[in-house]
């Protein structure tokens, strides 16, 4: 618990950096290779030169940037899952999605395509995770309700720590 608190102790207002996010994703050795491959495949798609027209159209649509970005990366992950014909281990989906989302956020910030804030990134990440979990029959509403009952002092015990 103390370790996590230390990791969380970052001053408010810092920009979320893709490298820092990547460093905090800890994959077990047996999944590291698959995770890297998925990230590479996702980045190749995201950085495709042919896709710029789609971005312009999508960004001009109505709606919060965080929502658009979160659903976008979730859609990308679902696309990768689908096209991998089931060879992608489910364990790498969320970590790879978090990684790709932070990369996308970094790029938006650097290019100033849109004004993106830390709050947008947080919203995007939450949207992405809930969208993917929904697709896997995880009841995210129930999950949120349960999480709301917990505070930092009220961590559930007996969960295999």
């Amino acid at each position: 618990m103390a370790i996590i608190q230390d990791k969380m102790a970052r001053p408010q207002g810092d920009d979320i950096n893709a490298d820092t996010v990547k460093e905090n994703i800890k994959m077990p050795p047996e999944l590291q290779n698959a995770y890297e491959r998925v990230v590479i495949a996702g980045m190749k798609v995201m950085f495709s030169k042919q896709s710029h027209k789609l971005m312009l159209e999508e960004l001009q649509k109505e709606g919060p940037l965080g929502e658009k970005l979160g659903k976008g990366v979730a859609g990308l992950m679902l696309l990768l899952i689908k096209q991998s014909n089931g060879t992608m281990p489910p364990e790498v989906i969320i970590p790879a999605g978090v990684n790709l989302l932070s990369q996308a956020a970094d790029f938006i910030r650097k290019t100033k395509l849109e004004k993106i804030t830390n709050a947008d990134i947080g919203d995007a990440m939450e949207t992405m995770i809930t969208t993917i979990l929904d697709k896997f029959d995880v009841n995210t509403e129930k999950m949120k309700q349960m999480l709301d009952q917990y505070s930092s002092e009220n961590i559930p015990t007996g969960m295999g720590a």
Partner: protein
């Protein structure tokens, strides 16, 4: 946004594909997210395990952004195996497996679902039919059962006159589902199989089959673009790809900086241009009084006076 881009360059800019933006395909993929069938719950536990692996990153993002959901997920995942155990104990994950599962879902789940259908068969009373991915409508099953009963009744001969009421439907009769359920479709080889066989055309067809190019042309285009990365993913050239990726990222960063510089340069050019128009020294002055007179020499010649 468009006004921020440099203008006046007939061979460059966004319209000429000079921007390698990562969110393009992602955002376009968002429009396709709804076309996917729900994945099986058996994979959900593994997925939640993945949440654990990314828990520290979520904590970080949650703390910086103030997103409480991310922070709490991160806190719980910080406890070994926490989110998976919690998901299971709190029944976030559906216990009933669904049909049409991805990740190679076995027919056993489908058979189990079928055996406990509205026909009322107990799982042990009849062998589980081997139906993969069949979406059986309970309502339809009931009507089928009734039809079978009536058919059996008709076969048994003429109805005795003293039989005023129809016999009750027997819920436990061993109905052969195979005769009511259409035979499973023979699926064409998938993307992976076609790729392994070296049949690129079929692979491309399989890759695009999930997306309707008429209703979602962008989706079809994005799927076409994704074929190569997936092929790379399957090929296992991870180390080389990582090196290439690093180079690509470096190029992207460089391109981003270059783009910013170009935008700033164009803004400066516009500012200078506007300022220049208001203070342009053309070597002539305009005399309004002269313009108001007869202008015998013509509008231009009459208005312009030598300095």
């Amino acid at each position: 946004m468009a006004i921020d881009y440099p203008i006046g360059d007939p061979t460059g800019g966004v319209a000429y594909g000079e921007k390698n933006d990562p969110i393009s395909a992602a955002l376009s993929a968002a429009t396709m997210a709804g076309t996917y069938t729900a994945a099986g719950s058996f994979a959900a536990m593994s997925l939640m395990q993945g949440v654990t692996f990314a828990g520290a990153a979520m904590s970080l993002v949650g703390s910086v952004t103030g997103n409480k959901t991310l922070s709490k997920i991160g806190m719980i995942t910080g406890i070994a195996g926490g989110i998976g155990s919690l998901a299971e104990s709190q029944q976030w994950i559906s216990k009933t497996p669904s049909l049409g599962q991805t990740f190679g879902g076995s027919t056993g789940n489908a058979a189990q679902a079928m055996s406990s259908s509205s026909l009322g068969q107990s799982p042990s009373s009849a062998p589980s039919p081997n139906v993969q991915g069949a979406n059986v409508n309970p309502l339809q099953q009931s009507s089928n059962a009734e039809f079978v009963n009536n058919e059996n009744l008709a076969r048994s001969g003429p109805i005795p006159p003293n039989l005023g009421t129809a016999p009750p439907i027997q819920n436990n009769m061993p109905v052969s589902l195979n005769q009511n359920v259409p035979p499973p479709k023979v699926e064409p080889p998938g993307f992976l199989d076609s790729l392994k066989q070296g049949n690129i055309l079929d692979a491309a067809k399989a890759a695009g089959s999930a997306i309707n190019p008429v209703t979602n042309p962008y989706g079809a285009m994005a799927v076409g673009q994704i074929a190569a990365p997936i092929a790379d993913y399957l090929s296992g050239k991870t180390d080389a790809e990582i090196a290439a990726l690093e180079a690509q990222t470096g190029y992207t960063d460089q391109r981003a900086l270059q783009l910013q510089e170009e935008i700033a340069k164009e803004k400066r050019r516009r500012a200078n241009l506007n300022q220049g128009y208001s203070q342009v020294d053309a070597g002539i002055t305009v005399n309004p009084a002269v313009i108001g007179q007869a202008q015998a020499g013509g509008l231009i010649a009459g208005a312009v006076q030598p300095r």
